[in-house]
Symmetry: C6
Subunit: 247 residues, 6 copies
């Protein structure tokens, strides 16, 4: 199992070299936990530092908004789109369309569009942000399982390394709404925005990498307005120990 | 991402300059947590201190009641309505109407009325108070997602900065009833009325600002009968520390 | 926002002068928490000390039983009924009727009867005890919202100050069964019968008064066999402090 | 509100004189908490010490079994049945009958049979053990409310003092399965079989007596093989204090 | 109420003499808690030490497997079957049958087969292991109540002393899946396999014996490979005290 | 009951000799808890150290992926497949097939394929990884019970020793989604990935072995990149004690 270096500070350390190459990694987190920033940083770093083109697939936010939101980090994503280093697939439902068949997303069409985009820019990296809106609430979990399975095997065939963002309502418990998402994916990463004593603390954890080593447990990270996500490759305990030692 | 100063003491500090301009901010809180006071204060301050006209959209309380409720703060909203600085859209269901299609709110009509009001007073600020009554309880979350998405993109096109109040039954857990509201919105603010040892304590937190910095964690605030909402831009911990230092 | 003094010891203090005049206050509490005693005391005190006639609307217990239950306090409610200071609306379902349309309460008819009673005695005060039986369990919360809204706006038009008692299964969590009752009402008061270490302790709290000041947090109260409800306008903490000081 | 002395040691003390006369008291408790022993003791003591005949209504256990179960206490219930001091209404469903209409209990027929039995022995006391089997699981709570209401008002008309036993799955939370039972009844008594550190401890509590005084909180009680239920009219705290004083 | 000595060490002590004779005792416990070993030990001891023949009714495991599983204890159940001291009723559903009417168990047929077996060996003891598979998950609890009631009264008529094993998913909370099993049974025994600090600890508790005395609370027990179940008739507290005294 | 040595370090010790021979053991664990690694190690060790051929049945991951994932351990599974020491049954649903009958898995066909594979390589060991996808979410638990029962008895007839992996959403509570899986299986093993203070800790526990002895409670284990699963046959407490003694 080879890894693809993300170029995100600290993340390549705790993942022992990056994300499993050629596979998908599910990133689950609550609202505002940093999923989108991390995924865009993965795309940006790919083009910038590794000359690996990428594809951005959006389901709800517009691509323009997403790119504007990370402009303050100095990530020139629009330029990269122009330079045909990044291709965009806007899979948001047409707002004028009525929602006759709730969740009746056309998966085959979606996969075809992603494949086209990957071909166009010769992409190595793909991000899907965020797939929560793909499945209606009262769906049979077996059906969701199959759909997700199809998306994953479709992406696998394209040979790209993918990040799939998934919304999560709580920092604890099942990873996804259906209690099956974490089993279907080969790799799962959790981003948490822990609330403790009315203070917030961000952590990132590699829950599983099938067939590969990684560091275990949660690692603190920050999102500041210059560098985006920075992971501290020291566990909380190490931090406490070292800080208590330095006293 | 530019910010629009709210003019509310302390809030502009913890938000690093105000609410994201041209976007919507969802404010979720339990009954009596202060959502309506804060939203009206946002509208009032806009007219009073920044010469920014506003639109008040109501779904349940009558506009007259809402304005009467904050009269004691000396906020002359009725006068502002008269001066055409504030326009009103009363979207409460006609009480005489039967509720044939529960939740069958006419969204397109609503958006048109809001647009008309925005045009009329040339509004910069809009508040919707409160959208809980828009969605029936047993709705498919995917449907609610789409509807909320439509409201948000409609408001985005108007170029206004919006506050959308949302009822929340508990201070913890999912932000909204459907577990998806916090993902659809770009910006989420939480108002809490914490019960601890039979005493109440009000706090406000910026849960997320897509594409912008903000202070993290909960900040105490008060509602007194002269100034409405006042946020203390010191975290609880800082307060405790400083108070323990002054002893 | 003016207040209407209730005449109940301590309650007028923690409410900074009484209940919001001309509006409804929802009182939620578990079985035996004291809702009915408090509401009847509000009615009795109105006639006795302020010469304000009242209307008693019942949904389950018979008016005779309710008045008998507080006879031991020396509250001569039957006499007041005779003197046409108190009018009664018995809205309990006819026991012989079959429950064809569960919850298919005739709201318009109910409002008409209340209005008639208010007119008859020229009432200032109205109590509804208790509205839990009005809504069937599996109802859509949106429907309940509209119905409750109608009751409240009907009462508002009558110009009376109203107490609406609502059953609550637990001292914590959502105020009502549907998770929306506390948002529809302008004013919410909570009566608790806390169980701690196998002992009971009664507390009362003003959760919200729209547009008005009030004391915050829970205050202890007692129901004894002479005076009914007596609220101690000192918070638990003050009590503990003062008691620890007097040691 | 007068009381009817039960003749059960300690219970008459914590209830300030017995159960509210002419009314029903709901007794809720988990399996084995002592509901049936207490109810039969109420019936037995009535005949034995107060010359008050009684009616035993059963819904599941056979009357013979129930009387056999308390024979070891020396309560000669069979003799009392023979002496026409106690009448029996066996309301258990005919086991050979198919359950076509689940829960379609014939309430009117039941009330008629109870009335007949009350007349026959000129009963002052009635016990119903236990009503859990009367209502199917997925019933609308409003329907259950009405049915329970009818039973209660039917018993009220008979002028008897009634105990109604109700099964409860947990010692905490809502009193009954439907979350409405405790509101419909005038009087509620809770029997608990608390599990603490793998030891059991029995307590009894008067949750509410409408229109009457009573001691508050939980009181320990025992069931031994000579006297049945014996309530210790000292609260746990008093016990602890006195025991710590006697050290 | 007479008791039937089980012959299981310690159990006869905490039950003050054994299981209520001629009645059924429900034994509920999680997977692996020891229900089957205890029930077979009850059967084996009956034949071995009291010359009381028995009937083994199985619903899922094959009788052969069950007997093989306890062979290591030296319990020669197969021999006893041969000697016509134990009769077997294999009530497992025919695996080739399709599950047309889920849960549509033929209760009358089952009772007839049990009766035949009891007659054949002149049984005093019967065990049913385990009844969880008898009732479909989404059944009306009232229906389950009636079915269980029928099984119990059928067994009662046979004059045998019965153990009925019931699966339980959690060591706390309601005894059975439907929240009614513990009320229908006359006698309930709980076997727990407590997990504390990653260690397991087995306890047994008599939750209720209608009409009979018993020791209260949980008692530790072991399953070793020579004697099967051995109950320590000392409560955990006594054990701790005595052990701390012997220090 | 004889045991089949697994060849996995430490596991044979805590299981007192290995897995019950000729039976199935259910292994339940959350995503990434190590179920697949352990099962493949069981297969690999069988061929390598005991000359026991095996069958790998997959339901979701492709066999190629699974074998690639453990290649880094030096387990030459592909070679073993070539040498006809391991046979493969790929039971993943055909991705092109539509999911008409959700969960309508063809069990008979599956069993026939497994039997064929067992015959082909003359297998002693079989693993099924993982059966969660076999049952739709809203299925009747009774139906799932029967299906699982059929799989288990089919495997029993083949005379093989089987591991069945089962997904579990939480480390606590019911073992499987339907609350019945742990009762149907003869043997249950739990793999946990405990999160404590933001650190992860892996433990393995034998919850039950019908008819056989085993060590109780949780034992720590590791997955490193050379040896796969290694169980530490010392309980956490022993470890702590010994480590504190060695200080
Ligand atoms: N440009 C920025 N400058 C500084 N901080 C930022 C910036 N963009 C995002 N953040 C921080 O990151 C948070 C949101 O990150 P992000 O949008 O990646 O979350 P997310 O997990 O994708 O949330 P959602 O599920 O709601 O889409 C913001 O709340 C803010 O605190
Ligand atoms: N005019 C006022 N003077 C003083 N305090 C006030 C005033 N208006 C409101 N408050 C305080 O603010 C609280 C309610 O605030 P607000 O109505 O904004 O809450 P909310 O979050 O909108 O609640 P809801 O969801 O029920 O509408 C009141 O309970 C009161 O404590
Ligand atoms: N006349 C009285 N004398 C003394 N105490 C009384 C009297 N009436 C009521 N109480 C006390 O008040 C409690 C019940 O009060 P009340 O009937 O007001 O409760 P509630 O909240 O209306 O309950 P429910 O929801 O069941 O109607 C009784 O349990 C008792 O402790
Ligand atoms: N004759 C008796 N002698 C001694 N103790 C008894 C006797 N009868 C009952 N008990 C004790 O009382 C407990 C059961 O009491 P009882 O049958 O009244 O409970 P219950 O609340 O009616 O339970 P259920 O809801 O299951 O009917 C028994 O478990 C036992 O501990
Ligand atoms: N080749 C490997 N080298 C090192 N560690 C590995 C290797 N394969 C797996 N692991 C570790 O084992 C974990 C996953 O193990 P495994 O795939 O057996 O889990 P699982 O219980 O089968 O999960 P799932 O239910 O998601 O299939 C990985 O997250 C990783 O930590
Ligand atoms: N022959 C035996 N030798 C030693 N221990 C045994 C033996 N049989 C069972 N055990 C122990 O007893 C446990 C299982 O007991 P048993 O089968 O009675 O549980 P159960 O409650 O019937 O479980 P289930 O509900 O899964 O049938 C085993 O996990 C093992 O620890
Ligand atoms: Mg995002
Ligand atoms: Mg409001
Ligand atoms: Mg009341
Ligand atoms: Mg009973
Ligand atoms: Mg068993
Ligand atoms: Mg796996």
């Amino acid at each position: 199992m080879t890894k693809l270096a993300t170029g995100i500070d600290g993340l390549d350390e705790i993942s022992n070299g990056g994300l499993p190459r050629g596979r998908s990694t599910l990133i689950a987190g609550t609202a505002g936990s940093g999923k989108t920033v991390l995924a865009l940083q993965f795309l940006y770093s790919g083009v910038k530092y590794f000359d690996q083109p990428g594809v951005l697939v959006t389901f709800e936010e517009t691509p323009a908004d997403m790119m504007a939101n990370v402009a303050s980090f100095g990530w020139s994503l629009e330029q990269m789109v122009e330079d045909e280093k990044i291709a965009i697939v806007d899979a948001a439902p047409d707002p004028s369309e009525s929602v006759v068949e709730a969740g009746g997303h056309d998966l085959a069409g979606l996969m075809a569009r992603i494949e086209g985009a990957v071909r166009r820019v010769n992409a190595d990296r793909v991000i899907l942000d965020a797939v929560g809106a793909l499945f209606p609430q009262f769906s049979d979990s077996l059906l969701v399982r199959r759909e997700l399975q199809r998306i994953l095997s479709g992406l696998r065939e394209l040979g790209v390394t993918t990040i799939i963002n998934l919304e999560r309502v709580d920092d604890e418990g099942a990873v996804g709404r259906f209690g099956i998402e974490e089993f279907v994916a080969d790799n799962v990463l959790l981003m948490r925005n822990r609330l403790d004593m009315e203070k917030r603390r961000r952590t990132i954890e590699i829950l599983k990498f099938r067939g590969a080593t990684h560091q275990k447990g949660e690692y603190p990270f920050t999102i500041d307005d210059r560098d985006g996500v920075t992971v501290l490759p020291l566990s909380a305990t190490s931090l406490q120990q070292s800080s208590s030692e330095t006293r």
